[in-house]
Subunit: 341 residues, 2 copies
Amino acid sequence: MSNIRAVADLAGVSVATVSRTLQQPDLVSPKTRAKVTSAIKQLDYKPNLMAVKFRSGKTYNIVVLVPTVANVFFARVIRGMQEAAAAEGYALLLVNTMGDDDTEQKYAKMVHTSQADGVVQLRAFNPFDEAPSDNDDLLPMVNACEVLDAPNCPTVSLDNRRAATAMTEHLIELGHSRIAMFKGPKASPLTRERMLGFKDALQVAGLAYCEELMFAGDFTLHSGYEAADRLIAQNLPVTAVFCENDEMALGAICRFKEAGLRVPEDISVSGFDNIAFANYSDPPLTTIAQPAEEFGETAINLLIDVLKGKSKRAMKVILPFDLVARKSTGPAPKTPVNFTQ
Amino acid sequence: MSNIRAVADLAGVSVATVSRTLQQPDLVSPKTRAKVTSAIKQLDYKPNLMAVKFRSGKTYNIVVLVPTVANVFFARVIRGMQEAAAAEGYALLLVNTMGDDDTEQKYAKMVHTSQADGVVQLRAFNPFDEAPSDNDDLLPMVNACEVLDAPNCPTVSLDNRRAATAMTEHLIELGHSRIAMFKGPKASPLTRERMLGFKDALQVAGLAYCEELMFAGDFTLHSGYEAADRLIAQNLPVTAVFCENDEMALGAICRFKEAGLRVPEDISVSGFDNIAFANYSDPPLTTIAQPAEEFGETAINLLIDVLKGKSKRAMKVILPFDLVARKSTGPAPKTPVNFTQ
DNA sequence: GTGAAAGCGCTAACAG
DNA sequence: CTGTTAGCGCTTTCAC
């Protein structure tokens, strides 16, 4: 692999001139420029960007901490990040953290060791052990999707509370009053906010909130299936289920149908995220659409602003949601189904 | 950010000693080692890995060209790669290529510019424009999942032809003789191989191959839906559909049900990949399971072998498949349904 | 067991 | 407009 010196020698100029020809061609006379360009071609010279980065102290790498790349929603977010990053010359170091704190810490440290310039965290967990000081030395990080209260960290989020309220209102308008909720992981702020939004709507409608109608899950198809299983076993009088994401909703529908229930005639099911499958399930899923790609794009742009010192660290972006009413929700039956029939 | 010089000064030793303390502690006297270690702690010194990489000429980065990260199957492959790479100290530069040749070329060039050591390509397309020479200077690349005939490139693949034969035999055993196929993109070798396997099985069973029963698709839910739509419109006598991936199968099932058809009583549908959703659809999908994570893991390990000069470039790994029979395929009806009824 | 010094490939003063 | 040179942070001979 030829280096800048080889080009300089072949062109009969100094390395500085070669560098300039590449960086600021205007400062080089056309004649010299031609010689250099020709030498570069001849040697098929490519600048060693490793050296460039080393020297500049910038890596043009961004670490992205993703709980699971296997999640369809995150896949869309990643696509958005990818495009925004590429546009600015950054590469993404994607890390599938599996929600593991140690993994996150480990990879976030790539910033400390000058392997990356900043971090985008898609989960609400601060990957740095340092106590949040008012010190300006905080690592450049942006938090997206699942958002954290950290005051020093720009965030991109959805108004999860209001979105959950909207979905709950949709169910209430359909006549549902006994609504179960299939929740995400306890530690997730998403879960907390969506539950608050759920409660808001109940309260406005004058409906009681029942703790026993809350079912734990973890955003996987399987956990939705299992929660439905528990709901059926307990045989509680319920006419609708608000699932905190689409995968759980799809898993739940699967279980309900196995039990001989019709969706939505016997029980309505709603999701959250609007993944591609939501439109092809039977029945198609009523859900909340999130601008996933925009999450990614915004997160990267925010981070780049931070890296350039352009942005205040307190920037909070809230993206809009959209309730997509499909066929999985319908009018409440007169009386709740008896699951054990 | 403190550097090795600062540590050396504080410890009252030379930079060489600091470096040795980190790299080959045995060569340093315990007393000095203690001084250095203490200085490192005191300054919270982290070696600048950018500099290390620059000097060593190794980046410990691997570029991964993924057609779409949004594809559930690839998401699993990525997880496998991630783990194997981390184990060897490599980071993954994930690129969502959208199947675009230019994007692939551009990112593959990161190897040329010393930003990455090698490439894993998940699509059967050679990202380097250079004519394949017998020159040893070929870029370190491994091809996985969709495999290429390139002689100089290690590959990890499934025996797609045999898998397709197995699936077709399964359908034939159920009494189906008029089987449609929903294909992937024309350019994909997967499509070609799976079609060959399909034909193999037909031939062995003495069944005719009908060109008009082949429907084009592109592996998305939507394309499966559309292919089913065309099949219905043409009203061909068909009792089963072999889809080349699960997403198309799920899209097709959606369309068939809209048309009032029962799966599998009126028409059987099979997929390929065994994504998570395949087990939660209605009906659960009969499909071919691929060891996705193992694809990723193997690809990375193969690449690392190449990078270390350990491996011959001709290495071809073939991973096993597994036919998972669920409820979307069943006995053929006596007479094919009339779609226009 | 330790230090001095060269050098990886490049860019940016600074001179000329 | 072009060349000389220092130096980014680190590892690695080669002396001592």
